[in-house]
């Protein structure tokens, strides 16, 4: 046992003291943090500036006045603000509070961004030739020609069949969807206004009649009640899967690399003169488990801190963390032992890559199926895959973190299968490891590995 701990300690220190590990450990949260800050700003529709000319032909002339007011810059800014308010209403309370207490500079910056649209409306005569106007659309000028809108005759007053029409929008090939969306919103507002006025109705009265503000959703937990945060239940499975994937890959990859290095630097035989192959294998796995535990622990702590800061901690079932730790341990032991055995049979990292391919496919398989499983956690596919090693633990983790967790017996049956899978993987890995350590030359194929496992 002492030798195992000595090897584990050397492995752990050799890995965590490298610059690559420290940088890797910090880079990931840094990237996530930066993405969280930068991407919403980069993708914020409020930052998009709709700029160009929109030509409109209204054969009846009934909607033109309302189109004019709907396309007025201040009205377009108001609509953007309204959209932003609606999005903010869906966000957690902490985010809403942050938005309300934003600095004056930030508010000013957002206000500037709000008045970003620069649309010029070109009113064409009711009798304008649509074909000629289409040619205008394709003209190359300094000012972009964004759209040609042709109102239907029955857009404001229904025809003989009592049906309303709308409009046709002709667009050049490279129209931005966001610009089209903004134009459509303005047209919708204009047509509705024109119709209500034609009917002698008051639009504000109708809106107050048809608008039902979304009711307050309250999530009730044992200890408290809080506003429901939508989306977290969809994010939880992929977050857990990513945590487990990162944990297994960190330790497994380091174990593979260190074994290949020990072989290529010929230090392996020196080690084997002091300890048995099994002590070496156990020490390596224990040491790198410590490395993975650090990575996993840090990311879990960061995730929990984030939940606490947004007052969402109560939404997380503590059992999920327990399951994550159990599932991670079993998955690490399964994949880690296979990865270290690959390290033992190859001469360099290039050879390791080809043998790693099937393992990587298995490891990334859950990332492909998380969405169908989390959408239908109790479907036949989801249930079946929860019992197929070695991917069963990934699948079960997705299911237990989903909105419809499976019954407890399925969870523990999957864990039991995972334990059996660990036993099989360790049996295979220990035999291959023992033989492969001092083998140099052409790396074995899978058939040879299986033969070694049988013979050892």
């Amino acid at each position: 046992m002492k030798n195992i701990l000595l090897v584990a300690s050397r492995e752990f220190i050799a890995t965590v003291s490298t610059k690559a590990f420290i940088i890797g450990l910090l880079v990931m949260p840094l990237m996530i943090g930066l993405s969280a800050i930068i991407f919403p700003r980069l993708l914020n529709p409020r930052n998009f500036k709709t700029s160009g000319e929109v030509a409109i032909v209204d054969p009846t002339g009934r909607a033109m006045a309302d189109v004019r007011s709907a396309f007025a810059p201040e009205r377009m800014a108001e609509r953007r603000d309204e959209q932003a308010r609606q999005i903010l209403n869906q966000a957690p309370a902490a985010v809403q509070q942050m938005a309300q207490t934003r600095s004056p500079q930030m508010a000013a910056a957002m206000a500037t961004a709000t008045a970003a649209s620069d649309l010029r409306l070109l009113e064409r005569p009711p009798t304008a030739d649509v074909q000629k106007e289409k040619a205008w659309l394709l003209e190359q000028t300094d000012t972009r020609h964004l759209a040609l809108i042709v109102m239907h005759d029955n857009a404001v007053i229904p025809g003989t069949d009592n049906a309303y029409g709308s409009y046709d929008a002709y667009l050049p090939a490279n129209t931005d969807d966001r610009a089209l969306g903004e134009i459509q919103q303005a047209l919708q507002e204009a047509i509705v206004n024109a119709r209500t006025r034609a009917r002698g109705l008051d639009r504000s009265q109708i809106e107050s009649l048809v608008r039902v503000t979304r009711g307050r959703s309250i999530t009730v937990t044992k200890d408290s009640e809080r506003n429901t945060v939508r989306g977290i239940n969809q994010l939880l499975p992929i977050a857990f899967i990513m945590l487990m994937f990162m944990g297994v890959m960190t330790g497994g990859q380091a174990m593979l690399t260190s074994t290949v290095e020990e072989k290529s630097s010929r230090v392996m035989e020196v080690l084997l003169s002091a300890l048995s192959p099994m002590e070496l294998l156990a020490g390596k796995m224990l040491g790198q488990l410590g490395v993975s535990a650090i990575v996993l622990g840090l990311y879990i702590a960061a995730g929990l801190a984030l939940l606490v800061s947004f007052a969402l901690f109560g939404l997380l079932n503590p059992w999920l963390i327990v399951y994550l730790i159990i599932f991670f341990l079993l998955t690490y032991l399964t994949f880690g032992s296979l990865m270290v055995s690959i390290g033992a049979v190859v001469n360099d990292m290039r050879e390791a890559q080809s043998l790693m391919m099937p393992l990587m496919l298995l490891l990334t398989f859950p990332l492909w199926v998380w969405f169908p499983i989390s959408m239908n956690p109790n479907s036949t596919f989801s249930t079946a895959i929860s019992f197929v090693p070695p991917v069963n633990l990934f699948a079960m983790l997705i299911r237990v973190t989903s909105t419809a967790p499976p019954p407890w017996w399925q969870v523990w049956l999957s864990i039991g299968i995972g334990v059996a899978g660990v036993g099989a993987a360790l049996w295979f890995a220990s035999r291959v490891f023992k033989i492969g350590l001092l083998m140099y030359g052409k790396p074995p194929n899978f058939a040879t590995l299986i033969r070694w496992a049988r013979q050892a």
């Binding site: 010929r266 020196v270 084997l272 003169s273 300890l275 048995s276």
Partner: protein, 301 residues
């Protein structure tokens, strides 16, 4: 008392290749044995079986009284043929790691490392990374790692390969020091003069089979080539009187004199006075067969 190493009927094959066949070997405690043979003879395979890194297909082993070296690893020092160190590790931590693996008491580790490094002239290397050292220096570091726990049995696989003459002599002295301390030493080499210089007993292996297992002196006696080296006092002297002696079969000219080959059954000590009378000598002595000559004689040129 048990032998330090005892092998009985050891067989080892790799696929269709017979690496070691029917090998018996008994090395008493405190002995200094040379394990010699050409490249590919089976020396490293045998040593790996002794170290329980490989396992024989059949046969019995006893290492320091145990059925496997695994049970006595902390009493064995091993310098493998394929040498290596953790390149990124510093010398001090590497030796500390090896000392801990070998069960050296924590309080003794630092002192032993300092003494070991000083002994091989590397007192200032403790803080250096292993990758900064030359191959020969790395080899010295590994030798220190092999003896840091003062083993009862020291197994060295081609310890002098790749070393310059000065380093080779320094390592040879260390081996002799370990032997003087009481360690049993088995070292393999394909360079016969190394074994001849160091060992009191030699085991020769060829194509996986033992062809010789005797003390060096006994080997020389047994494989006496019946040759007397003769340098005349007068370099230009006529050597034909030597050929006239009945026991002399042939006289072969050399740079300084000649080699006198005796007929089978002739006694060198009784012929030597008559040679000296026939031609006054500057030097006359019985030629000692080298291990290389013995090996060639045993396995054929």
């Amino acid at each position: 008392m048990h032998d330090a190493i005892l092998l009985k009927n050891i067989h080892k094959t790799f696929g269709a290749t017979k690496a070691v066949t029917d090998l018996d070997l008994a090395i008493p405690r405190g002995a200094l044995y040379g394990f010699i043979g050409p490249n590919g003879a089976g020396k490293t395979t045998t040593i790996r079986m002794i170290m329980a890194i490989l396992f024989p297909d059949s046969g019995e082993l006893s290492i320091l009284g145990h059925r496997s070296a695994l049970e006595a690893k902390r009493r064995i020092g091993y310098l493998p043929e394929e040498r290596g160190v953790y390149r990124k590790m510093r010398v001090g931590p590497f030796l500390t790691f090896m000392a801990r693996l070998k069960g050296v008491p924590e309080a003794d580790i630092a002192g032993r490392i300092k003494r070991g490094l000083a002994r091989v002239g590397l007192a200032d290397a403790e803080r250096k990374r292993c990758e900064e050292l030359s191959k020969g220096t790395q080899q010295k570091i590994q030798f220190i790692a092999a003896i840091i726990h003062q083993p009862d049995l020291l197994i060295l696989d081609e310890p002098f390969s790749g070393l310059d003459p000065v380093s080779s002599r320094s390592l040879r002295d260390l081996v002799l020091e370990e032997h003087a301390r009481g360690a049993t030493i088995l070292f393999s080499t394909h360079v016969m003069p190394h074994a001849e210089e160091l060992c009191d007993h030699v085991v020769m292996i060829h194509k996986g089979q033992k062809v010789l297992d005797d003390p060096v002196d006994a080997i020389r006696r047994r494989y006496d080539p019946r040759v007397i080296e003769f340098d005349p006092l007068d370099p230009h002297a006529d050597l034909s009187p030597l050929s006239a002696i009945p026991e002399v079969e042939d006289v072969i000219r050399t740079d300084h004199g000649c080699k006198v080959v005796l007929r089978p059954g002739a006694s060198a000590p009784s012929v030597m006075p008559r040679l000296a009378i026939a031609v006054p000598p500057a030097r006359i002595e019985i030629a000692r067969p080298t291990l290389e000559e013995v090996f060639v004689k045993l396995v054929g040129a």
